[in-house]
């Protein structure tokens, strides 16, 4: 499984959405991505990539695309 697939899976499994629905998805853009869902997403990503995210990055994680940028720039996850 590629890193992109792992990343997408974290979203689809956490929020019960399709891969297509992840594109352009924003925090609070769907009911499932509220503060509780956000922490579940972070947990799923930390498990998937064996990382520990900084609180600042968790707060900045505002969209599907922004998350990829954070993981790529700060946690050496290559997409």
């Amino acid at each position: 499984m590629t890193n992109k697939e792992k990343y997408v899976n974290a979203f689809t499994e956490t929020f019960d959405i399709t891969e297509e629905e992840t594109q352009g998805l924003q925090y609070s853009g769907i009911a499932a991505w509220d503060s509780v869902g956000h922490m579940s997403l972070v947990a799923a990503l930390e498990d998937a990539f064996d990382i520990m995210m900084d609180t600042d990055d968790i707060i900045d994680f505002s969209s599907f695309e922004k998350g990829m940028e954070i993981l790529s720039e700060k946690y050496d996850v290559e997409f």
Binding site: V36, M39, S40, V42, A43, E46, M52, D54
Partner: protein, 248 residues
């Protein structure tokens, strides 16, 4: 009830923290015993307690005020793959003195260790607990948070902050099956407690309605209760353990 649970305790090398280690090991819990610096004496003590009780106790070292050290240490703990069932934010420092005679730097140091470090550690550990959908966090407040007394502007207000934070965090984490409570002990018979009493001079603190200081194990026993399923509906509370009366 607590058999096989894994407990992370800060400030576990002496005083109430060491009593926590002994109390939880006695209940067959495994422990990450956190301290500031490595010492052979501490390692030996922990190994002895582990051996006597048939549990593992892993010393973990980090400076509470060093975010990077703390993060690296907790990362190692998480790498073990073990659940963190209980976090005890025990480490703290005492300080007494009139507000007008207390340096701001001192007040910041007291808050750094008594409030901000437990908050930071809880943020790291909570993510594991949220994944587990279970956990118990026990913070150390103090009767100094409750009793208005001159000279308590740094320590007392820091412990009042812990009390308030405990209630807020308990409300936020209940949905994940995580309970957060605090203990507010009165003067306890430890090195720190005796030093506080000595420094108080003529303003010596009232020992308790029982006429004595608390024993460290009496505080630890309350933590054991709060960590256990016996306290399954206790959340966001600060339990006063002061031997009765309006004492310090």
């Amino acid at each position: 009830m607590l058999t096989g649970k894994n407990v992370l305790i800060t400030g576990s090398n002496r005083g109430i923290g060491k009593a926590f280690v002994e109390a939880f090991a006695k209940r067959q819990c495994n422990i990450w015993a956190c301290a500031r610096k490595h010492s052979e004496e501490f390692e030996t003590q922990m190994a002895e307690i582990a051996s006597q009780n048939g549990v593992w106790i892993r010393p973990v070292y980090f400076e509470l005020t060093d975010s990077e050290e703390m993060k690296a240490a907790i990362k190692q703990v998480l790498k073990s793959g073990e659940n963190i069932d209980v976090l005890i934010n025990n480490a703290g420092i005492a300080h007494g003195g009139l507000f007008s005679m207390t340096r701001m730097q001192t007040i910041r140091e007291v808050f750094d260790i008594n409030v901000f470090a437990p908050m930071e550690l809880a943020q790291l550990v909570l993510r594991k607990m949220m994944r587990q959908k279970s956990g118990s966090i026990i913070n150390m407040s103090s009767v100094a948070a409750l009793n208005v007394r001159a000279g308590n502007s740094a320590y007392g207000t820091s412990k009042a902050a812990v009390k308030a934070w405990t209630a807020v965090l308990g409300a936020e984490t209940a949905q994940y099956g995580i309970r957060v409570n605090a203990i507010a002990p009165s003067l306890t018979d430890t090195d720190m407690g005796r030093t506080v009493q000595e420094n108080a001079g003529e303003n010596r603190l009232l020992p308790s309605a029982m006429g004595r200081m608390a024993k460290a194990e009496e505080i630890a026993n309350v933590a054991v209760f709060l960590a256990s399923d016996e306290a399954s509906f206790v959340n966001g509370e600060t339990i006063v353990v002061n031997g009765g009366g309006d004492c310090d």
